[in-house]
């Protein structure tokens, strides 16, 4: 057997693709997922609605199998899963659908300032429709203030929406506690689990979750597909966003994209098998990354709670260094400043602002997302590249200036 010499991490990689450290933005499709998807694009192309013939029926069976695979990962029943075009649609459907259904008796919607844009924009649309929308602040650690949330809830609150794991700062919200607060008051609890599904354990019953949004492309499945968990007992009722052919029990019309749904199902099935072990591995890599950066750049700050966060996420501020310059100085790394949806904006992240981070520090912040295909060597290379770039951008002497400028 050949054994390659270990390569020093700083060795130039002229022909290599940059190391991908943006797994919260999107993930590559796992080759195992792709393999399962491919036949459904070509020879098994039927419309799952065409149950009068064999092509349609085999597609329908594949969709139902995927539905069960997705349900298993969150302890739900298969028939509680509604397939959508992605987490943005799931979040729009959950918030607008639940609020509009209960409009007559409940007209109050509660969410957090740090939610994803598609939740905040859905809330804004409801506000224009006459709902009372309450957007609660978070602590400096990015976590919800449970006492503040409880105080905000009332008899006319229809739905509470809180993200399970944050896309920029990785923090994990106390879902079971929020769910309990909502359930006793008859309020629907929606959680945007696009970043959490398949990464951390979620149990819809134990956490009293009524609606839960899922994305395919955040868990090594394809883009263009997602799901919404809709509780049946007690029933979470929704007004659909898309009407038409009546697919998905009338909650979401439109031809079901069988290959994408099969891919989402397979990605969920892999997560059921591997999530625990993968989380352990990624946590070790994250700690290695953080320790490495801290050793080289002592002034670095971690945004978001250090313990209650996704195993694979870091959000780091490098005081005195512009994040854009830092990214430019690291051509071997694929990095981002935060949410990809707004990545092209020069504005500092509204999420970091909500944590009380100044705009100046916000502009010095990077999101690091590790994932299934990140190796220890990748981490070491990235830490060295970041440290070297910070050194170049700060100019010597590194240590004496750290923290002094801000």
């Amino acid at each position: 057997m050949m054994s390659a010499m270990p390569r020093p991490a700083t060795e130039p990689r002229p022909n290599a693709r940059p190391i991908y450290l943006d797994y919260q933005s999107t993930t590559p499709v796992d080759p195992r997922v792709l393999e399962v998807m491919l036949p459904w694009f070509t020879e098994k192309f039927g419309n799952p609605g065409s149950v009068t013939h064999a092509y349609g029926r085999e597609a329908e069976a594949a969709v139902e199998r995927a539905r069960a695979q997705v349900a298993e990962l969150i302890g739900a029943e298969a028939r509680e899963i509604v397939f959508t075009s992605g987490a943005t649609e799931s979040n729009n459907l959950a918030l607008k659908g639940a609020a509009r259904f209960h409009r007559d008796e409940r007209d109050h919607v509660v969410t957090l300032a740090t939610e994803h844009k598609c939740v905040l924009e859905s809330a804004r649309a409801l506000d224009r429709e006459g709902f009372r929308v309450m957007i609660l602040p978070v602590g400096a650690d990015g976590l919800v203030d449970l006492a503040g949330l409880e105080a905000a809830l009332g008899e006319r609150t229809a739905v509470v929406s809180v993200m399970a794991a944050h896309n920029e700062i990785g923090v994990l919200q106390p879902l079971a506690e929020i769910g309990a607060l909502c359930r006793t008051r008859g309020i629907l609890f929606h959680t945007d689990a696009a970043q959490a599904f398949g990464k951390i354990p979620i149990a819809v019953d134990a956490m009293a979750i009524d609606l839960l949004s899922i994305s395919g492309h955040k868990i090594y499945g394809p883009k263009g597909v997602g799901a919404l968990y809709v509780r049946r007992r007690p029933r979470a009722r929704l007004v659909p966003l898309l009407d038409g052919g009546g697919q998905e029990r009338g909650l979401r019309s439109g031809t079901l994209p069988t290959p994408l749904i099969v891919g989402l199902g397979e990605a969920a099935a892999i997560a059921v098998q591997e999530m625990t072990e993968e989380a352990r591995r990624l946590l070790a890599l994250r700690e290695r990354f953080l320790a490495g950066v801290r050793a080289a750049v002592p002034s670095v700050r971690l945004n978001g709670d250090a313990e209650r966060r996704l195993p694979a996420n870091l959000n780091l501020t490098f005081p005195g260094i512009g994040a854009l310059e830092l990214m430019e100085a690291c051509p071997g790394l694929a990095l981002s400043t935060g949410s990809a949806c707004t990545a092209a904006e020069v504005e500092p992240s509204y999420v970091l602002r909500a944590l009380g981070v100044s705009d100046e520090l916000g502009r010095s912040s990077l999101r690091i997302g590790l994932g299934r295909f990140t190796s220890e060597r990748d981490v070491d290379f990235a830490v060295d590249a970041l440290a070297a770039a910070v050194g170049r951008l700060q100019g010597p002497p590194l240590k004496s200036r750290s923290g002094a400028a801000i």
């Binding site: 999107t26 959508t84 844009k117 990545a343």
Partner: protein, 370 residues
Amino acid sequence: MPPLAYLDWNATAPLRAEAAEAMAEALRRAGNPSSVHRWGRAARQAIERARAQVAGLVGAAPAEVIFTSGGTEANHLALRGVGDRRIFVSAIEHDSVREAAPEATTIPVTPEGVVDLAALETQLASDARPALVSIMLANNETGAIQPIAEAAAIARRHGALFHCDAIQGAGKIAVDFRGLGVDLLSISAHKLGGPQGVGALVAREGVALAALQRGGGQERGRRAGTENGPGIVGFGVAAELAVRESVSSAGIAELRDAAEAALSAVAPDARTFAKSAPRLPNTLCIAMSGVAASTQVMALDLAGIMVSAGAACSSGKVRRSHVLAAMGASPEEAESAIRVSLGRSTTPAEIEQLVDAWTALYRRTRSAAA
């Protein structure tokens, strides 16, 4: 087991091999098209290339193409995104149009399944409030092609916006966005050899459209959500191939006409819907009188032939077709109609298989009746 003959192309068309190949490659690459780094930029470039390809299919500018999750969403974005307007839809529209605007006024159609332009004129003249007219390019059940350019001209004269659901037409007949003079046009990828889960709304530059799905502001704020990059790439490839191969539809029409002639010869009492209307070259909607469509579909399925009893949408329920009802068909007639739809790889042998199985069923039911 008999050889399989897929004759349900209007429900979904098999993915083109070239599209599958391009998608498989795109699926192997990571990268969120909104990310600034090079993987993100590569994904963005692939989407913009596909946008130009899709625009090319209908003669629009790339910036006028908004990618959606499919035809249903494109239709909803058109009908619900134009703001507060009176809405007029034809009586034969797909459910995704009819249900997007449940309070719409219905424009009647002729017994041949073609929209009644005089009625549209009268309806629009009766009320001067801002309006939107939505008429499909070609009907999914009968294949009847609608006089879109004329209807759009009427709408324009009355200051109304015009939406055309071109989901069944695009890829089967030439579509000229500017020539038709429409403001909004819906397309679906999987009806023309692209993947399921992708579609587009083409919106003329200058038409104000409010997003239905809000969030990260993708598609210039008109449709939020991470773009389905590989799906869009597949859509683009299929669109380009449809443009290149548009000449080949003559062969499909010949096969369809042969099927129609053979079935009508066997069963002189069979009715072909929209027979004398301009029709999609691939679609045949025919009623075998006295035999339920579900019986025909099942008998044909046993013989390896896949057709449908109308639209494929709602989990197999065979409902009475609102399209055939609008054309004045009796309930008995509508309930005995099947849809046969051909595609680019349909062979004469498949048509022969259909004719044989249909003939056998016809003779069986007639001898049972006698």
